[in-house]
């Protein structure tokens, strides 16, 4: 399985030693699982799991017009950020399609740290750098400077606190701090992609293997991409390339909470303004299978024999023990309770729209 052409994260060797089942994930060799998806999933919901997300990209946007650039390039209102806070948003094309979905961390009003999807990092950098032309702002791709570990689960704070001088208890969701983790400079944010409490830790690549081992020794369970996908889907967090891409708008993707039409001009604003007035043509809805079977990415949704939409994500939900998924449906058929058919290997199989997220942690 060791493919010479695949990119490797700084944690690759540790993952091999831990018996990770390695796969090609968008050009990166990453573990899909260690002990098993169900077990890893449960560890995150009940205790703490550790994910290598070092493949994610990081950009910096600095300068007097940093805020102006990000306001123009994204749909959420970056001016609402404060130092030490993070924001989920969409980097959009003028068509309102997604260049990427990203996290913006504000260090200072003229200094932002942007976390992007691995496979999009070069594209995002080029898009932002291009949009920055003529503006007093510098965009840099600093992906190679960071390894990223995601420690997720109700015990995350208890495991991480002894290793860091950053006070975790007072840190609220979507806040971050800078300090040390295991004696080396780190950024720690209370963020994640699992629907569970937890932290994302950014450190220099050379420091990451030691920190990973210490967190595992402290009791975190190593988790792979498989559990990451079932966890994020239960929490209805979008996956770029599956649920959203350059052909889908944030309103179609049911992400109206990140669309701030009134913040001023930005790429895709006119399209979103129209969609928000008239309603988007289709909407991403959560569903459960009524008949037996699992609807997977790309399976067609049919209505009266006609293709009416498409499944973008689907899996067996380990927490709910049901087959769940997300699908683009016609707007008038996307409300909870609506039933539709998914073509699973040629067979029409019944599904029902349900309220989302599928899973919400108890506060």
């Amino acid at each position: 399985m060791a493919d010479q052409n695949l990119k490797k994260t700084p944690l690759n060797q540790v993952e091999h030693e831990l018996g990770g089942k390695m796969v090609d994930f968008g050009g990166w060799e990453l573990p899909v699982q260690f002990s098993g998806i169900l077990e890893e999933h449960a560890a995150v919901r009940e205790h703490a799991g550790l994910f290598d997300v070092s493949h994610m990209g990081e950009l910096t946007v600095k300068g007097p017009e940093a805020l102006a650039l990000l306001q123009r390039a994204t749909c959420n209102d970056v001016s609402k950020l404060e130092n030490g806070r993070a924001q989920y948003t969409g980097l959009l094309y003028p068509t309102a399609g997604f260049v990427d979905d990203i996290l913006i961390y504000q260090n200072a009003p003229d200094d932002f740290f942007v976390v992007v999807n691995a496979s999009n990092s070069d594209k995002d950098y080029e898009w932002l750098a291009d949009a920055a032309k003529g503006m007093d702002v510098e965009v840099r791709n600093v992906s190679a400077d960071y390894a990223q570990l995601a420690l997720q689960g109700p015990e995350a704070e208890r495991l991480l606190q002894p290793m860091t001088d950053i006070a975790l208890a007072p840190m609220k969701y979507y806040r971050f701090g800078k300090g040390k983790v295991d004696g080396v400079p780190a950024i720690v944010s209370r963020t994640g992609y699992t629907g569970e409490d937890g932290f994302e830790v950014y450190v220099a690549p050379s420091e990451a293997p030691r920190i990973m081992r210490k967190l595992l020794d402290a009791g975190a369970k190593p988790c792979g991409l498989g559990a990451r996908d079932t966890l994020r889907l239960e929490a209805k967090m979008a996956l770029y390339g599956n649920d959203i891409d350059e052909t889908t708008t944030p309103l179609e993707a049911d992400l109206s909470w990140i669309v701030k039409i009134d913040k001023g001009d930005f790429f895709g604003r006119d399209v979103l303004q129209r969609e928000s007035a008239e309603g988007p043509r289709r909407k991403l809805a959560g569903f459960e299978m009524v008949d037996r079977g699992i609807a997977r990415h790309g399976y067609p949704v049919v209505d009266g024999g006609e293709e009416a939409g498409v499944v973008t994500s689907g899996t067996h939900s380990p927490t709910l023990k049901k087959a769940i998924g997300l699908a683009y449906l016609p707007l008038d058929k996307s409300a909870p309770g609506a039933e539709f058919m998914v073509l699973i290997r040629g067979k029409e199989t019944r599904a029902r729209v349900v309220p989302t997220p599928f899973y919400k942690r108890a506060k």
Binding site: I37, T230, R292, G293, R296, T315, H316
Partner: protein, 130 residues
């Protein structure tokens, strides 16, 4: 580890001789490990006539779906109903309680053409090395 009395297909199903023309079909330990946690097994109705190579069902693990191919020709005389409620038996006991269906062979010679345990182990070794 690989039971000696079974025969094996390249598509990772095994055939276990039961009595006379009756055989039991399931997937191998290697196959269940490759699939990961199995959550749903779709099997054909009892009475179905299968030919060698026919797709007879599918198996869903958390991460993916795989088709199941019949390694022999014959009629389905029984399916393992226990997999409806406990599909994980395919993971925990692939050669025992995780069996899938019982078939009455129409061409018993097909079984002789399949790999022995030793041949299958060599085959798997090669396949997992590439």
């Amino acid at each position: 580890m690989t039971p000696e009395d079974n025969r094996y297909a390249k598509s990772h199903e095994y055939v276990h001789p039961e009595a006379g023309d009756l055989v039991i079909i399931g997937i191998t330990d290697y196959a269940q490990k490759e699939l990961g946690d199995v959550v749903f097994v779709e099997l054909p109705p009892v009475g179905s006539e299968l030919e060698l190579g026919d797709e007879f069902g599918s198996i869903e693990s958390v991460k993916a779906v795989s088709e199941l191919f019949s390694p022999v020709s014959g009629q389905v005389v029984e399916i393992n109903e226990a997999l409806n409620d406990k599909p994980e038996l395919v993971n925990t006991d692939p050669y025992g309680d995780g069996w899938m269906m019982k078939i009455k062979l129409t061409i018993p010679e097909e079984v002789d053409e399949m790999m022995t345990a030793e041949e299958y182990e060599e085959y798997v070794e090669k396949e997992s090395a590439h």
